[in-house]
């Protein structure tokens, strides 16, 4: 049976309660009759032989690229960059796609007699990966072959000796990237394209770049002009990355791009109900829902976090394409949309969403209030093509506990940003002008980014900028069940129940508003007509 496409359900009297994510937990909620619920397409069937598919892709590249084996020669400098811990979500069960692809690439390199190979985690300004995380992404064999010899590196955007300034694009954008990557005979970038934002020229131009370069597109103006940043052809974020990517190629960096797409089989069997449509829940699904929510309700916060962060997604490979960046990425988008796109007709007054326990920047960590805002208003709000799901001046209702909690090792500058900067102003442009530079260059943050596992000092600002399109578009943001002080610090309205939140929303959008619930995860993308 082929998987069913995405689906927009209109709630009527017989509709069962809908599962709404709420951080490290979830609950069932009855939405008002007439509300719409957007379900993504069911998981696509996996590729029958993923390893063979990968080998095929390497041998049959897209665009003007030669097959990978012909690009490899003895004595060459080969660098393999790969996506970091922020992808995929949740982390996938072993073997990770990166492991499969890199093993295939290394086999070819070995066949060709290449012995100068370096692996680089493309961190951009993200935190370094821990050894267990690297081992999980690359597999024991690769990890043990490279790590002990210092050949498994993590991109350090603050190591001047390991960066190279390639010049300036015709738009005046500085292009500064990892020196080893730039000076290799061949750079291979291994992507996991979980969402439409990932991959393309963004992989190298952002993943291996420095603050000096990244700040040209990670800023308020760019984000306001990316509608959405999930839609590469209407995204200033991507236009800027594309200019830089082409500039990098013109500078002589030879890149072989590998992109992969996964299906939306997000949760293991025991939690399968989380990705099923509620009216199709079997007795077993109901039982596991009850069991899971009862257990979660009785576990202390730290433990339920631990439980959730040890969930690995089945995530099967649905496509792999390799070769020249642009044709590869176009093919990727086709495959991605095949899995994620749902047609939705017409915008809504009120968009509701339940945020799960995980986002790109809190894998094995804490979802702090800034990350809540970013996941809801940055990522979920932007899961659209065409028009935003919610009309201009509409309301977004987010369900998440939004605790005033931070991981001190991963997010040190977030603490200061939230407690000092947001206490003073929430204005994007003011923050950018007044605070960005000092956070970006703070020696303590730089020290922690380089030697510990901290996101770069400037990162919380980026997360805040990520919300700028949504904040400019929306009339109000309401968080249900959140820590009131934290929600207010973000500038949002706290509500204790879903009903209260809808009442609050009516103050903005009027009586009897249209309501649409975004049932994510599993991930989907709405094509709004």
């Amino acid at each position: 049976m082929s998987p069913r496409p995405g689906f927009v359900l209109e709630v009527d009297r017989s509709t069962p309660a809908t599962l709404i994510w709420h951080g490290e937990g979830f609950r069932l909620e009855r939405l008002p009759v007439g509300s719409r619920i957007i379900y993504g397409p069911e998981p696509l069937p996996p590729l029958a032989d993923p390893d063979q598919a990968i080998r095929d892709a390497l041998d049959n590249p897209l665009g003007d690229s030669q097959p990978l084996r012909t690009l490899l020669f003895p004595g060459m400098r080969l660098t393999i960059a790969f996506d970091d811990i922020s992808l995929p979500l949740p982390p996938m069960r072993a073997p990770d796609v990166r492991q499969r692809v890199i093993e295939a690439v290394l086999d070819l390199a070995a066949d060709a007699g290449v012995d100068d190979v370096v692996l680089i985690a493309a961190l951009a300004l993200h935190r370094r990966m821990t050894d267990p995380e690297l081992r999980h992404a690359l597999g024991d064999r690769v990890f043990e072959a490279f790590a002990p010899h210092g050949l498994l590196m993590q991109h350090d955007a603050e190591d001047p000796s390991n960066l190279v300034d390639l010049g300036v694009t015709d738009h005046g954008e500085d292009v500064e990237i990892n020196r080893r990557a730039a000076e290799s005979d061949l750079l291979i970038y291994v992507n996991i394209n979980l969402s439409a934002m990932d991959g393309g020229h963004k992989s190298v131009a952002t993943g291996l770049a420095s603050y000096k370069s990244i700040k040209h597109h990670h800023n308020v103006r760019t984000m306001l002009n990316s509608r959405s940043f999930m839609d590469r052809h209407h995204s200033e974020l991507h236009s800027s990355n594309w200019r830089m990517g082409r500039f990098i190629a013109e500078s002589g960096v030879k890149l072989f791009q590998i992109e992969t797409t996964l299906n939306t089989d997000t949760f293991p069997k025991e939690l399968a109900f989380l990705q099923k449509r509620e009216w199709e829940w079997s007795l077993k699904d109901r039982a596991s829902f009850l069991a899971t929510s009862t257990v979660l309700g009785r576990t202390p916060g730290g433990l339920s976090r631990k439980i959730f962060h040890s969930v690995y997604a089945p995530h099967d490979l649905t496509s792999v394409q390799a070769g020249a960046v642009e044709p590869v990425h176009e093919a990727t988008l086709v495959n991605l949309y095949r899995q994620q796109l749902v047609e939705v007709s017409g915008q809504t007054d009120v968009l509701t969403m339940g945020l799960p326990y995980i986002g790109p920047y809190n894998v094995n960590s804490t979802m702090n209030p800034i990350l809540v805002a970013c996941l809801g208003l940055g990522y979920f709000f932007n899961l659209y093509k065409g028009k935003p799901l919610v009309r201009e001046g509409g309301v977004v209702i987010i369900s998440h506990p939004t605790p005033w909690e931070f991981n001190p090792v991963h997010h040190p500058s977030y603490i200061d940003f939230f407690e000092q900067v947001l206490a003073e102003t929430r204005d994007m442009f003011e923050i950018e002008a007044k605070f960005e530079e000092s956070f970006a260059t703070d020696p303590w943050y730089v020290h922690l980014y380089r030697t510990s596992y901290a996101y770069h000092g400037v990162h919380p600002m980026y997360m805040w900028y990520w919300c700028s399109h949504a904040l400019a578009h929306l009339g109000r943001v309401i968080i249900v069940g959140g820590d009131r002080a934290a929600v207010r610090r973000l500038g949002f309205s706290p509500a204790s129940t879903f009903e209260d939140a809808l009442e609050l929303a009516e103050d903005v959008v009027g009586r009897d508003p249209t309501i649409t619930h975004l049932r994510v995860p599993p991930l989907l993308m709405a094509e709004v007509t």
């Binding site: 050894d131 909690e405 001190p408 090792v409 303590w444």
Partner: protein, 801 residues
């Protein structure tokens, strides 16, 4: 007319810096314009007598009225009419110099108002001042006038000595207490005052000797240790000596109280005053002497202004404790008389006595009291106070009004019993809490128990001290005083009123006395309580984070990071171990925990020295690399974000920052960018391995205070410009030395000390979002080294048990 009688007279006053003395000086200067005043003032520790006169007498708000009336002439008039001489009534001959002798010798009238008025003064102190004071004054006056006579000054120039005593010298019986000489009273035991003086002086020597016995000293040392913990030798020694001195004092107070009660006086004050009258009458020879005995002197009825009072006196602390709801009961009988007399009435009576001159028939007594003429009943007083505070309640620290308790006039024994039990229960609770390993806000709760215990003890003290006064059933006659008043001309009666019949008690209590008491007590009279607290913290924070140059010193364990050297070791040691070995090592450390803790509490340096032996043969390079992981995996997770933010704040303000810790250098290396200087422990190295021996003594105790001083001086600053952050009593020397001590998450002991000293206390918590774990075990670095290193598995040697 009184001003005429006293015109041109030289009047000397002792005790001029006291409550009565100040009022007396002011009244003489204001209402008797033609007299000259000589004040006998004891030189202060840092100030000469003239300076004390200026600061402690003339600057008092008592003189506001005179200053207003004289305007620009005030300074001139004072300079012309007021002379200060150095003198001490506690010393024979008053320790006068030649100039002082000349000035005192030229006086016509000497008013002796100096007294030790604390009811719980040590016996010997009270004896020196209250018992011997009047006769010393008499002796010097006789000596001076004989000198003058022999110099040909004539025989009729003996000055008039007016000695201020207390009505309670003769209060140990029911019924009338007449204005008769103490020697004539049939209710007062006849005692050899000279023997009492000798006994008191001997008792002081005896108690002092007892306090120096080795058992006692060991006890004081134990108590000091219990209070301060491992605060270092110097501080403990200081505290021990303080406790010894306090003990001797307490013994002398108890002796005074016991001796007085045994002989029928309410306390040592009345007892020594009584003997003082005896001594004066014995010594006086032909010196004309008048004794004025006021009862309980309280705030002014009208002069210099209604409600004027100086210092916190007898009734005030009782009233305030009552208004704060602390004094649930106070002994007394409702129909008993509380003999209170406003200070201006006493002053007027003394001046009238001075103007009248000595009685030719010999020494006479004037009692200035209210009980016999216009009694204030105890029940009435309690009602007035209760209704006043019900209408104008004080507010507690949460800004809520305090409901005053209802007194039911129980007997003194019952009240004392209740309070004693409360004190004992709170004392036991305090002891219990102090022995618990509490920190932070809970520890501050413990400190509050200590405060409540102190309050209960104080309440008990009031009852024990003053209970006798509310139960006195003697009625102080004042026939002679009233007679004197009635003999005055109407104008004098108006200006120098001392007839207690004029007092309207409800008006005096409600409109004059209580407002004045509340104002002086600086208690919270508005509900805006929280604001006051916040601004206190804000002020401390502002002083700490000023834009002035500062040096900020931080302790590490539990000040910056909730971890310790044992955890660091456990983490580093387990990093390269297989599962079984890891479990064994951690189990071993856990089992050793109590012993290590004991060792640490006994002496930090010894503990560190012994514990660090475990690093013997550990590979230097590996540990230096691993320490960054240690920071990310353990120390960083357990760091207090507020602490890190504070260090960064200091740096942003241009302050210099210093980390002082007993942790090892490689452990704190990841923190280096936060500090201008790090003083920590360093270990010797041999062939790429650690020796397990420290290269120098770890910075602990007093060494930290000295390091702070050195660090400040290297920046061209002084200790006054330093801020010290610490969490434990072992850092007391550094906290004491710093200009701005800041106590972080203190244990109960330190919380109590900090609250007493008014130090800034902050509560810093670990980040709420970090992972929680109980054991400090490293995530093993897979695939690199799995065999246990010898430095980990070898059992430690040479650690004291």
């Amino acid at each position: 007319m009184i001003p005429d009688e006293l015109a041109g007279r030289h009047i000397a006053v002792t005790g001029a810096t006291g409550f009565l003395g100040t009022a007396l000086i002011e009244r003489l200067l204001r209402s008797v314009p033609e007299c000259e005043v000589v004040v006998v003032v004891r030189p202060g520790q840092n100030q000469g007598p003239a300076e004390r006169t200026r600061r402690e007498i003339l600057r008092n708000d008592c003189f506001d009225r005179l200053r207003r009336e004289l305007g620009d002439r005030f300074d001139d008039v004072i300079a012309r009419r007021l002379t200060t001489i150095a003198g001490d009534v506690g010393k024979d001959g008053l320790a006068l110099d030649e100039a002082g002798r000349a000035l005192l010798g030229a006086c016509d009238i000497v008013i002796h108002a100096a007294a030790s008025v604390t009811f719980d003064a040590p016996l010997d102190g009270a004896v020196e001042v209250n018992l011997l004071g009047p006769s010393r004054v008499a002796e010097i006056l006789i000596e001076l006038s004989e000198e003058r006579t022999s110099n040909g000054g004539g025989a009729s120039t003996r000055p008039h000595l007016i000695s201020v005593s207390t009505a309670y010298v003769n209060s140990g019986h029911k019924g009338d207490a007449a204005e008769e000489l103490i020697t004539a009273s049939k209710f007062v035991s006849k005692i050899d005052w000279r023997a009492e003086v000798r006994a008191a002086r001997r008792a002081r020597a005896d108690e002092d000797a007892t306090s120096r016995s080795s058992e006692r000293l060991a006890g004081f040392h134990r108590a000091a240790r219990a209070e301060l913990g491992a605060a270092g030798t110097a501080l403990l020694a200081h505290k021990t000596e303080q406790l010894r001195i306090d003990w001797v004092r307490d013994r002398m107070v108890a002796l005074g109280r016991g001796r007085s009660r045994a002989l029928g006086w309410p306390d040592a004050y009345a007892f020594t005053k009584s003997l003082g009258e005896n001594a004066l009458l014995d010594i006086r020879g032909d010196l004309p002497v008048t004794i004025v005995r006021p009862s309980i002197v309280e705030s002014a009825l009208s002069q210099p202004r209604p409600g004027w009072i100086r210092g916190f006196r007898m009734a005030e602390p009782v009233i305030i404790s009552y208004a704060k709801g602390l004094l649930k009961q106070f002994p007394g009988v409702p129909e008993g008389i509380v003999d209170v007399i406003p200070v201006d009435l006493v002053v007027a009576a003394i001046i009238a006595v001075a103007a009248k001159g000595p009685d030719p028939s010999g020494p006479t007594v004037y009692q200035v009291a209210s009980g016999a003429r216009n009694p204030l009943h105890y029940g009435q007083l309690v009602d007035l106070v209760e209704s006043w505070f019900t209408q104008r309640p004080l507010y507690d620290h949460r800004g809520q009004p305090i409901v005053v308790p209802k007194w039911s006039f129980p007997g003194r024994g019952r009240v004392q019993g209740q309070l004693r039990r409360a004190t004992q229960v709170l004392g036991a609770a305090e002891h219990l809490v102090n022995s618990l390993p509490l920190r932070g806000e809970r520890a501050e709760g413990a400190a509050r128990i200590e405060e409540r215990r102190a309050e209960a003890e104080r309440a008990l003290g009031y009852v024990e001290l003053y209970g006798a006064y509310s139960e006195t059933e003697a009625r102080f006659r004042m026939d002679r005083t009233v007679q004197l008043f009635e003999s005055l001309e109407p104008a004098d009666q108006a200006e120098f009123c001392f007839d207690p019949a004029v007092i309207d008690w409800p008006r005096y209590i409600e409109d004059v006395h209580l407002p004045s008491v509340v104002e002086h007590a600086r208690v919270r009279t508005t509900p805006a309580g929280k604001r006051v607290m916040a601004s206190l913290e804000e002020r401390s924070l502002k002083a700490v984070l000023s834009d002035q140059p500062r040096c900020a010193a931080f302790d590490l364990e539990n000040t910056l990071i909730a971890s310790n050297v044992v955890e660091s070791y456990a983490w580093l040691a387990t990093r390269h171990l297989e599962r079984v070995e890891r479990a064994r090592l951690v189990a071993g450390l856990l089992a050793e925990g109590p012993r290590l803790l004991r060792l640490d509490r006994r002496d930090r340096s010894d503990f560190l020295r012994a514990f660090y032996r475990r690093y013997e043969d550990a590979p230097v390079d590996q540990l230096r690399t691993d320490s960054y992981e240690l920071f990310s995996d353990l120390l960083g997770q357990r760091a207090f974000p507020d602490a890190i933010a504070r260090v960064r704040r200091h740096r942003a303000l241009g302050h210099r920052t210093l980390l002082i810790t007993g942790a090892l250098d490689f452990v704190v290396e990841p923190l280096r960018p936060l500090f201008d200087e790090i003083v920590c422990a360093t270990m010797g190295e041999r062939d790429g391995k650690f020796t397990g021996e420290l290269t120098q003594a770890p910075p602990t105790g007093e060494a930290r205070a000295m390091l702070l001083d050195e660090f400040a001086r290297a920046q061209g600053l002084s200790l006054a410009d330093t801020v010290a952050y610490a969490d434990s009593t072992s850092d007391l020397p550094m906290l004491e030395a710093a200009g701005f001590p800041v106590v972080i998450n203190p244990e109960a002991k330190l919380a109590a000390i900090a609250r007493r000293r008014g130090w800034f206390i902050e509560h810093w918590a670990r980040a709420a979002g970090g992972p929680r774990r109980t054991l400090a075990i490293a995530t093993r670095r897979p695939g690199l080294q799995t065999r246990p290193a010898s430095w980990v598995t070898n059992s430690p040697a040479g650690e004291p048990r």
